[in-house]
């Protein structure tokens, strides 16, 4: 099978889901004839017709709110928010309805809605086009929050998300839209739901666990290569499902290595990484040789294009964090007061 970009893999997942299930719809701003500003929906309106793939008025709350109504009536809407920050007008519908209606109705109403959100920076985008908004969604019970790091995962996770009876916030790392990768053999014909809420060890290593997701998976793997040259054997865990969180896979890794660094683009304060640190520390405290560290964006609004490189986690910054994991202390032990 030939290599495909992440945008291409997503396009294929949408097409395959539309073809497989007549209740699947795709709509949003510019997703019809234009094919989306990132071309993720390219060709779908022509192939499946404008009844199933269509442009809406420009109103994000309207898009999510009507998707909720459609899902109540048995359809499976897959909607797009054009950029991360433009999902905020839909925040009320997402938080108070999409996330809570199943619970509110004791399971009688199921909302299989997927909200695709191109997120994160690194593409020279101006303000409001580069937010990493995962923490807003992961703190909201009732939502699943998923993000792929590779084209293959993009395909599989999106198919799983569309098949899921739960609402899914599907975060697409826009800086990786054009990076190519192979699709695994089976992914073209079936959605493999085993993958859906499990983290994946992308690279094994003995010394330290790098915990990453979405756009940072590639950066973490690069770091692991660089770290190998410095003598550190780095394990890389790709979370894929941010909520629910796969404690099992992550903790098994950290217990093995005794050290961990969490990486994400979003601002650190109150960011998703805080949860990872807290969970891992609670569950693996006695296996830890050093506090779990975070490498994240600064606690600032996303910067303009010319400054974004300073904000984003880099290989060097992750290596620095690894270096700070108290390698010398190892023999000392104990956390005396």
């Amino acid at each position: 099978m030939s290599a495909v970009s992440m945008a291409g893999a997503l396009n294929r997942a949408l097409a395959d889901s539309l073809a497989a299930d007549p209740s699947v719809l795709v709509f949003g701003e510019d997703v019809g004839p234009l094919g989306g500003v990132f071309r993720v929906t390219d060709g779908l309106a022509a192939r499946f017709g404008e009844e199933r793939v269509f442009d809406t008025p420009l109103a994000e709350s309207g898009i999510v709110g009507t998707a909720i109504g459609m899902a109540m009536n048995g359809l499976r809407p897959v909607v797009e928010m054009q950029f991360d920050a433009f999902a905020y007008p839909a925040f009320e519908q997402i938080t108070s309805h999409l996330a809570k209606l199943r619970n509110r109705t004791r399971g009688q109403v199921s909302l299989p809605v997927v909200i695709r959100v191109p997120y994160g920076g690194g593409i020279g985008g101006v303000e409001h086009h580069c937010d990493s908004s995962e923490a807003y969604y992961t703190h909201t019970p009732g939502l699943r929050v998923v993000t792929p790091g590779t084209p293959d995962d993009a395909y599989r996770l999106l198919r799983d998300s569309i098949a899921s009876p739960d609402p899914v916030i599907f975060l697409e790392p826009k800086r990786r839209y054009w990076a190519k990768g192979e699709l695994s053999a089976d992914s073209a014909d079936s959605a493999d739901s085993v993958a859906f809420d499990r983290a994946l060890v992308r690279r094994t290593g003995r010394d330290v666990t790098l915990i990453a997701y979405g756009p940072m998976v590639a950066t973490a793997l690069e770091t692991a290569d660089a770290a190998a040259e410095e003598g550190w054997d780095v394990e890389v865990v790709d979370l894929r499902s941010l909520s629910p969180f796969d404690d099992e896979t992550v903790c098994a890794s950290v217990r093995r290595t005794g050290r961990a660094v969490v990486v994400h683009e979003a601002s650190g304060f109150g960011g998703y990484g805080a949860e990872v640190v807290a969970r891992v520390t609670e569950r693996c405290f006695h296996h830890l040789h050093a506090p779990v560290l975070r490498v994240t964006g600064f606690d600032i609004p996303y910067p303009p294009p010319k400054l974004e490189e300073h904000h984003l986690p880099s290989v060097d910054r992750i290596l620095d964090a690894i270096a700070r994991l108290q390698w010398d202390d190892e023999v000392v032990g104990g956390h005396g007061a």
Partner: protein, 357 residues
């Protein structure tokens, strides 16, 4: 610049609210609306009487601590009952917190209707059983659900209209705008019934909107609009019925009034006079129809008494049901957050069970 212009005439509401019955119960001569059939009129009356009794019963239950809170629709029965009876069985209703009477009129069990307000769960009924969306608390958000639902029906080839209820205050929310716009563009079969009861809690219309009427919003979306006397149940029934059958969207503003405070927790004397309330008591929707039916010989004393007795019986059954303590199970907390309980919730549920053991 060659856009087709829908004729303004059909999109703008009438200058005066449409009506079929005058305040004194006499029929309007030259109404453009068709008077509902006799049996429908009697049924409207019966449901209003039962609905009002249910409503006063619910208010009493708050005083006995059997309900956490209750927003009364006393005075708004023409809207609550007229609109719901105008629906076909296949249509859907999308109500708010104030629309408990609409729910029981639609056939939802009264105890299930009151579950939310009693505090046992967020919703007590199965929306699919009577085609009634969950009673909605965040204002105006149900308008979008209704539009999506109705459009989906269209896509599925089903003949289903959605009736969404909202208040005057809710029209100010952005969601109402987006819903009207989507409905206009999709020509979705949705009836937006704004029960303009003059207040959003304490805030009067003068601080809410400066338009000639709320129904004047429709034209901005290409949605036909109707202004109706919201205390005239025959008129409300007629306009909603027509809207439901139109196959497209309609915005209806019904002018009405809530006689009680916003909820039992509210103190309405802080923002309105008893004179104002008295003036509206004089426009009572139930009395008005009763006078008309009596004058037409459609309602005699025996029938009236039978309906009153039915209402009492209904109230008694509500009391009985609400006096049974149904305690929700703590397990429910975790059961329906996701379709399948994820591991972290299984752990939390287990921890709680252990705590309570």
């Amino acid at each position: 610049m060659a856009r087709t212009r829908a004729p303004e005439r059909t999109l703008l509401p009438s200058d005066e609210p449409l009506s079929l019955l005058r305040k004194d119960g006499s029929p309007v001569d030259d109404s453009p609306l068709a008077m509902p059939d006799d049996d429908v009129l009697v049924e409207l009356y019966r449901r209003m009487v039962v609905g009002r009794r249910f409503d006063t019963q619910a208010t009493s239950l708050t005083k006995q601590g059997r309900l956490a809170v209750y927003p009364s629709s006393h005075g708004q029965e023409a809207c609550e009952v007229g609109s719901v009876l105008a629906l076909r069985p296949t249509d859907w209703l999308f109500p708010t917190y104030r629309d408990s009477v609409a729910l029981v009129t639609r056939g939802v069990d009264p105890a299930e209707t009151l579950t939310l307000l009693q505090g046992g769960w967020h919703l007590g009924y199965d929306p699919y059983e009577h085609r009634v969306g969950p009673q909605c608390t965040p204002l105006a958000t149900n308008t979008l659900h209704a539009v999506g639902f109705a459009h989906a029906a269209r896509l599925k080839g089903e003949d289903t209209a959605a009736l969404v209820l909202l208040g005057d205050g809710a029209t100010s929310e952005g969601d109402t705008h987006e819903a009207l716009n989507f409905a206009g563009v999709w020509h979705a079969p949705v009836v937006f019934l704004v029960q303009n009861n003059g207040y959003a809690i304490s805030v009067p219309m003068s601080k809410q909107n400066a338009a000639p009427s709320l129904a004047h919003k429709g034209i901005g979306y290409g949605v036909p609009s109707v202004l109706v006397d919201g205390n005239d149940v025959a008129a409300v029934y007629a306009v909603v019925r027509e809207a439901v059958l139109s196959g497209g969207p309609t915005l209806i503003e019904a002018l009405t009034y809530r006689i009680e405070a916003h909820t039992n927790a509210d103190d309405a004397t802080r923002y309105r006079t008893s004179d104002e309330v008295a003036a509206w008591l004089d426009r009572d929707p139930v009395d008005r129809l009763e006078t008309y039916l009596t004058s037409r010989g459609l309602l005699d004393n025996a029938r009236r008494a039978a309906i009153a007795a039915e209402a009492e019986e209904f109230a008694a059954s509500v009391r009985a049901k609400m006096n049974v303590d149904v305690e929700p199970s703590p397990d429910d907390l975790f059961e329906h957050v996701y379709a399948t309980m994820p591991r972290h919730l299984r752990e939390q549920a287990a921890a709680l069970r252990e705590e309570l053991a």
